[in-house]
Amino acid sequence: VDEFGPTFEETFRREYPAIVRAVAPIVHGVADAEAVTQEAFLKALVRWRRVGRYDRPAAWIRRVAIRDAVRAAGRGRRDTSTPAAATDPVDRVAEDTDLYRALAVLSPQQRAAVVLHHLADWPAAEVADALGCSEATVRVHLHRGRNALAGHLRVEVEEVGDGR
């Protein structure tokens, strides 16, 4: 039992892998996803007396992680102040470069909406809560994101057809 109490540790063990998985396509990499997710848990830890009393502390942590991920994606660079991810790269499943390349054409908000709704199967309401916007805004992000993705895929098909 850690000095911060077992609940934080239980929450961490239960939620950490899932949040990393959701965040990775937004920040284009598992290492950055781990850094962002650890920072979100750290924010929760230092105010755990309050966050731990929430009905769904994991939802608070997920929300912070997603918003930080969107901000990090907007900056387009890795925050060098965060530590290296704890994961051994050898154990890591190969990252989906096709997916990352396609998602790179989207804005950070569109990317987060598409990843969370279409890939992680989050309901639009939950995506809206995580992004801090309305459901209507999420639907706009999804619509524009899908259009941008469709355009990207068309170009890729044409380039393959042209032998490029």
């Binding site: 998985r21 924010k43 990252e95 598409v114 916007c133």
Partner: protein, 293 residues
């Protein structure tokens, strides 16, 4: 390939994360951050005390609090002594229905870190403000670490009402932000307290905002009930309303106090420069009881 087909074929990667190592790293950083925060909190407290920025040694707080003796007529002039400035005691904020308040008085000149005995203040009641001017017992000077404040209960003789409490030592000729003690004490025009606005709309009205933009702030960790950016000329104020004092504290904490001033007793936070915070204080009300970096 259409979008749905593409997305179906690209589930998010399932990283084999090392949860134990990650957890240990977070706990380690949490302990370090907590230690750092304790140091920051200590420095905030010190900043309230050490105006000239010189470190002070720990000392006992005074156990007896001086006060204005008995009934007296207003206005009064301060007793002869050395100059001092004052601020509101954050532990006992004033309220409009009270006819007294507790000030924390600090000697301006050097005296080896001691403010010394506080003399009877001058009190001048105006329609819109009450000017209180403090002096402290004369000394012939000493070493110059900044002085610890002394608490003093001021009997105003009349209820505060809607008046502002102002340090009478600050006046229009005081150079704002001159870097000296009086400059710092008077950056807000000498206003130490004003009756807090009841809600955000009243705060906006009192500020006299020329432009008001509602802010949807997903970036804020502690989401306010409502937040606005208020523009007056080329100056901008961020004003947010939270649910209670605990959330105000948490919001302040989440930004580590940078550029923020907690103005109201529980709910208004202004994000801006000290000078702007002073303006907001004089118009919106409350008392500056935290000073960030």
């Amino acid at each position: 390939m259409d979008v749905d087909e593409f997305l179906r074929g690209h589930e998010p990667p399932k990283p084999s994360v090392d949860t134990d190592s990650a957890l240990n790293a977070v706990l380690r950083r949490g302990r370090a951050r907590r230690r750092r925060r304790m140091a920051v909190m200590s420095s905030v407290v010190a900043a309230l005390v050490v105006v000239a920025g010189i470190a002070i040694a720990d000392r006992e707080a005074p156990t007896e609090i001086a006060s204005t003796p008995g009934e007296r007529a207003v206005p009064t002039t301060p007793e002869d002594g050395d100059p001092a400035w004052w601020k509101i005691d954050p532990a006992t904020p004033p309220s409009p229905d009270r006819d007294s308040f507790r000030a924390l008085v600090t000697r301006i000149g050097c005296n080896g870190g001691r403010t010394g005995p506080v003399l009877r203040p001058g009190v001048v009641v105006h329609e819109d403000r009450i000017e209180v001017t403090f002096t402290v017992e004369h000394v012939d000077g000493g070493r110059c670490p900044s002085n610890l404040p002394e608490a003093y209960d001021v009997d105003l003789g009349v209820p505060i009402g809607g008046r502002r409490l102002v340090d009478g030592r600050c006046n229009e000729s005081t150079p704002v932000g001159d870097g000296g003690v009086i400059g710092l004490a008077c950056f807000d025009g000498g206003v130490k307290w004003a009756s807090p606005a009841a809600n955000l709309d009243e705060a906006i009205q009192r500020l006299g905002c020329e432009r008001v933009e509602e802010v949807n702030s997903p970036d804020m960790e502690i989401t306010p009930l409502r937040a606005v950016v208020c523009g007056i000329g080329d100056r901008t104020f961020g004003v947010a309303q939270y649910r209670d004092a605990a959330e105000v504290g948490a919001a302040f904490e989440s930004l580590e106090g940078v550029g923020m001033r907690v103005l109201g007793p529980s709910w208004i936070v202004s994000v801006n420069t000290p000078e702007a915070a002073g303006i907001a204080l004089s118009k919106v009300g409350g008392s500056i009881f935290e000073i960030g970096s």
